[in-house]
């Protein structure tokens, strides 16, 4: 017997027509020079929001990543306001460093592991409330307003990239709300990306780290990340699962 699929009905929570109407109003600038004298200027309707033609991704050069460097993890913690509790079982898993050792060749490698922002995310498939979702530009997020803390997504994620907030929190960052009873994970610093920036980990890796991380649009053939992916061999972690992650590794 074929079970009915959960979550097949995709309801767009936002009335697009109304939004565009409101935005056209917001783009108009009104300057009152004197009573009765008003200048109105209409700005161009800039396309706001996540562009479905874009797919944000990361490329991590494992050869450049050093095991004694923690710059990306520290930057993420500072940027998003999380910190380790000292208990690895309940610690936030936004990003962590993993050291690999190949016993046959003796090769030691180190790499950062975080949400891989899959094209077909298992966490989204299993979420019973629709809280786990993928943005049009490929960033996978948790809608904490609808997350009920069931933690199915934590079970479903093959990368162990999600974690649960067990204790009440205060002093969260305004751009990264997080609270007890909800699941959280790497957001690819969506607040920075929306403003044209790059994730905090990538920035820190370039400045205080070893320049092992590259952020960019996988769908743009002109972007550096797409050109590097087209030039050099890269791999996806657990490629056998066919999830097509947005985070790719070279020299792994």
């Amino acid at each position: 017997m074929k079970l009915p699929m959960l979550n097949t009905k995709k309801v767009d929570p936002v009335d697009i027509g109304r939004r565009q109407f409101l935005r056209s109003g917001a783009a108009a600038v009104t300057v009152t020079l004197a009573p009765g004298v008003t200048i109105m200027a209409y700005g161009g309707a800039a396309a706001a929001g996540a562009n479905p033609a874009t797919r944000w991704g990361l490329l991590i050069d494992v050869n450049k990543c050093a095991s004694d460097c923690n710059a990306c993890v520290t930057a993420c913690s500072t940027e998003n306001g999380w910190e380790d509790t000292g208990n690895p079982e309940t610690d936030p898993q936004w990003i962590r460093k993993i050291d690999l050792h190949n016993p046959e060749t003796g090769l030691d490698q180190s790499l950062p592991m975080m949400c891989q922002h899959c094209e077909d995310p298992p966490c989204v498939d299993v979420c019973p409330t629709g809280a786990s979702f993928k943005r049009p530009d490929g960033i996978v997020l948790v809608d904490k307003h609808t997350c009920i803390g069931c933690r199915y997504c934590i079970m479903a994620c093959p990368y162990k990239a999600r974690s649960f907030v067990h204790a009440p929190l205060t002093g969260q960052k305004a751009h990264a709300p997080r609270g007890q009873g909800t699941v959280e994970s790497c957001t690819m610093c969506v607040h920075r990306v929306d403003e044209g920036g790059q994730p905090a980990c990538v920035e820190a890796c370039g400045t205080t780290g070893n320049g092992a991380m590259l952020f960019g649009n996988l769908n743009d053939p002109e972007s550096e990340i797409a050109q590097r992916l087209a030039t050099y061999a890269s791999s996806a972690v657990r490629a056998d699962l066919n999830l097509n992650p947005g985070v790719r590794y070279t020299n792994l």
């Binding site: 936002v14 943005r135 307003h145 205060t170 751009h175």
Partner: protein
């Protein structure tokens, strides 16, 4: 009708309309245009609509954000620092306690302003007056 009678009795008994309603701290800046009555009734719908636009669709060009509410309606406590939602002086609590409605927002969101708008280089009244005078001079 009964409410009107009740109000009439209360007013006759020396209770002013001021005493019937909570004292809501003023916004620090006159940035929002909608009428306060509209916001009082509909703020959760506006916030919910725009939060979905931002979070789900990545639209940051929104009209209503909780962050903006918190930034502009910040209240200073006795130590001159801004108060969190733990304090009874907090802007949101003034009405919510009166209406007996629990606020869940601040379980995840910060109830303190992210930037101190007093220090953020907003245009001052003097500068605004100078700018208006300049613009009028151009005509």
């Amino acid at each position: 009708m009964r409410i009107l009678v009740l109000i009439a009795i209360l007013l006759a008994g020396g209770v002013s309309a001021q005493d019937l309603f909570p004292t809501v701290p003023q916004a620090r800046f006159d940035l929002s245009t909608p009428h306060p009555d509209d916001i009082r009734i509909n703020h959760i719908d506006y916030l919910r609509h725009d939060r979905d636009a931002t979070m789900r669709l990545g639209d940051r060009d929104i009209e209503f954000s909780l962050k903006d509410c918190v930034d502009c309606h910040a209240v200073r406590g006795p130590d001159a620092g801004f108060v969190t939602v733990e304090s009874e002086q907090h802007f949101c609590r003034a009405c919510h306690e009166y209406a007996a409605v629990q606020i869940d927002c601040f379980q995840c969101h910060n109830s303190l302003p992210e930037v101190d708008l007093d220090q953020a280089g907003l245009i001052s009244d003097d500068e605004m007056a100078a700018l208006s005078a300049y613009l009028e001079g151009l005509n």
